[in-house]
């Protein structure tokens, strides 16, 4: 077996799955940025963005002087944050489903959203001034990370972590945190509406700092997940097979778990809780590109970005009043999920 042919098989073109959604994402970003109370044409949006990147003011000659401000300082940060969060939640969804060996898992299965919500509620209640406007994201992030490590320590025994105990620990911790949030709401008095609004998720008034922060975390997470994508595939054969194929299942599981949780934590902390994206996008993409994580992760990231951005644009620019994005994704995603769940269920039963 030492003789190896140098000739490599034609690689299955990973890129083919990504060109279409990639182009679509750029189009959706440009069109979304143009939409809103003030309509700006796609050409003008492109000119403004290019002038912003290159610092060439000649490109924006003849465009209303307010437009560059609207595009660059108001809309683009929100549009990009929505796209990056959509990508992040979808990547985390693929990874959680893969690690927990459960196609119905999502980034919030382990109680990470409850932890973030608890942290954010405390920040809203105590209003710590030393952190300024970042008190909520910082507390939400801390809450999410603390929850992750609580859940992991609850479900580990002798250095190994099993999928079932992870899911159970997640449910228990989330239940306790939910009670805690209810208590905080009860004592919150005037701030209760702010807490409720935060819990429903929103991309309103996002800044370039939010864009850069989410981009940094989601990109690092994406690189780590891509690096371990083939290991994640093999993990779905179960620990014994994965181990006999030269993978350390426990180390791979913990690395991916922490990575996906950090992606989730940063997304939740900037945007509040946006459900169903991390569940449905990976599920949907499995039908289209198959279950190979090497294709599934990038394809889900792009599709998640497109869909969450489209949803945010609908609430911002199409609907007469802005609905919280988390409510919209749940209202559209929930029934859609019921549909694919039922279909899958029926397909499985008829196959036997």
């Amino acid at each position: 077996m030492s003789v190896r042919k140098e000739k490599w098989a034609p690689s299955e073109t990973v890129s083919a799955h990504l060109i279409l959604p990639g182009v679509l994402l750029v189009l959706v970003v440009i069109i979304s940025t143009g939409m809103g109370y003030v309509h700006i044409s796609a050409i003008d949006v492109i000119r403004i963005i290019l002038s912003g990147i290159m610092g060439n003011h000649g490109l924006v000659v003849g465009i209303n002087k307010v437009f560059p401000y609207v595009v660059l300082d108001v809309r683009l940060p929100r549009v990009l944050t929505a796209a990056i969060v959509g990508a992040g939640l979808s990547i985390a969804g693929v990874v959680f489903q893969g690690i927990l060996l459960n196609p119905l898992a999502d980034p919030y299965t382990l109680g990470i959203s409850a932890g973030a919500a608890f942290g954010a509620s405390i920040a809203l209640l105590l209003d710590p001034r030393f952190l300024g406007i970042y008190s909520i994201p910082v507390f939400a992030f801390a809450g999410a990370v603390a929850t992750l490590f609580t859940v992991m320590s609850l479900s580990s025994s002798g250095g190994t972590i099993s999928c079932n105990s992870l899911i159970l620990s997640g449910i228990i911790v989330a239940a306790i945190l939910s009670a805690g949030i209810s208590f905080l709401k009860y004592v919150a008095d005037e701030q209760v509406s702010i807490i409720i609004f935060w819990l429903m998720g929103s991309f309103a008034s996002k800044t370039w700092t939010d864009v850069l922060l989410t981009f940094l975390f989601v990109s690092i997470g994406f690189i780590i997940c891509t690096f371990l994508a083939r290991d994640l595939n093999i993990m779905s054969l179960g620990d014994r097979s994965a181990s006999s194929l030269g993978i350390n299942p426990n180390r791979t599981r913990i690395t991916l778990l922490v990575t996906a949780s950090l992606i989730t934590a940063i997304c939740v902390s900037v945007s509040g809780i946006i459900g169903f994206v991390g569940l449905i996008i990976p599920h949907l993409m499995r039908f289209i590109v198959g279950s190979d994580s090497r294709r599934l992760i990038p394809a889900s990231a792009l599709t998640g970005a497109i869909l969450l951005l489209t949803a945010d644009t609908i609430t911002r620019a199409v609907l007469p009043t802005e609905i919280p994005i988390g409510v919209l994704t749940a209202l559209i995603g929930g029934p859609f999920f019921c549909y694919i769940f039922k279909k899958r269920h029926m397909a499985l039963n008829s196959g036997q």
Partner: protein, 264 residues
């Protein structure tokens, strides 16, 4: 130390929490041969196979593979030496059959590289051998239990290792596929000088195929030796607590075991 041994286990113990699953077990396995691992449920057969494949780490004692402690190997290198076919598997994701079998080539394919022509050739060959080539593009989730088990077995064969560990690998299969697979394994032993260690429930299949038997009970090796020495009425009574009749069968060309019903 026995220089000829492929596996050398010295006074090894393994605990599940406080429960002792393997209890001071010592065993030497010489290369090439079809070893049958027999014993009642819960005697530690699966745990022993897991320890040999380094899916678990011994609590005390050591396993040497080719004279070197198994823990000292790089995992991917060990995966080129030892393949394990588990009994229980549960694949929840829609991978195609070919994708699963190709996973067996994982130790040979560098990260981010595509499989080589040679990898694909082995995968195709193995799928032909196990008669699963006809549904290579079907999803594993759509297959029956026996078909899935053939795919899992194909994955282990694609790993192309000198040692193959089978943990009740044929338990879900129809008899014709069970025989097919055991014949493939036997050919590997006889012409490829492979070492196969198989935990089996079916005593007569073990008798027909194995040339050496290991009897286990309560986490220990009770006795070990050639089939003819080991397969006796006395041993079966001691290991399983059953009455039986052991005889030489002309058709099988090996010893076989017969049982008698007992009205209670």
């Amino acid at each position: 130390m026995d220089n000829n041994a492929i596996f050398e286990i010295r006074d090894m113990s393994f605990y599940f929490g406080k429960i002792k699953a393997i209890d001071g077990l010592s065993l030497t396995i010489s290369p090439s041969g079809f070893w049958g691992l027999l014993g009642p449920n819960g005697c530690g057969k699966s745990t022993l196979l897991d320890l040999l494949a380094r899916c678990k780490t011994p609590g005390s004692g050591a396993i040497k593979y080719q004279g070197r402690d198994i823990g000292d190997y790089v995992r991917k290198d060990l995966a080129k030496e030892i393949a394990l076919v588990p009994q229980d598997f549960y694949i929840n994701f829609s991978f195609t059959v070919k994708e699963i079998v190709l996973m067996g080539r994982h130790p040979y394919i560098p990260r981010f590289a595509s499989p080589s022509m040679y990898d694909l050739k082995i995968v195709d060959h193995v799928m032909e051998l196990l008669e699963i080539a006809k549904f290579k593009d079907k999803y594993i989730t759509e297959l029956s239990g026996g078909e899935k088990q053939r795919v899992i077995f194909a994955r282990a064969l694609a790993q192309d290792t000198p040692v193959l560990l089978l943990d009740e690998a044929t338990s879900n299969m129809d008899i014709q596929f069970t025989l097919d697979i055991l014949n493939i394994v036997l050919k590997g032993v006889e012409t490829g000088r492979k070492t196969v260690i198989a935990a089996l429930h079916n005593l007569n299949l073990a008798a027909a195929y194995c040339d050496r038997l290991i009897f286990m009970k309560s986490g220990r090796v009770l006795s070990e030796g050639s089939l003819d020495d080991m397969l006796t009425e006395q041993n079966l009574l001691e290991v399983f607590g059953i009455e039986s009749h052991v005889y030489f069968d002309e058709y099988t060309e090996s010893k076989q075991v017969a049982f008698r019903r007992r009205r209670i």
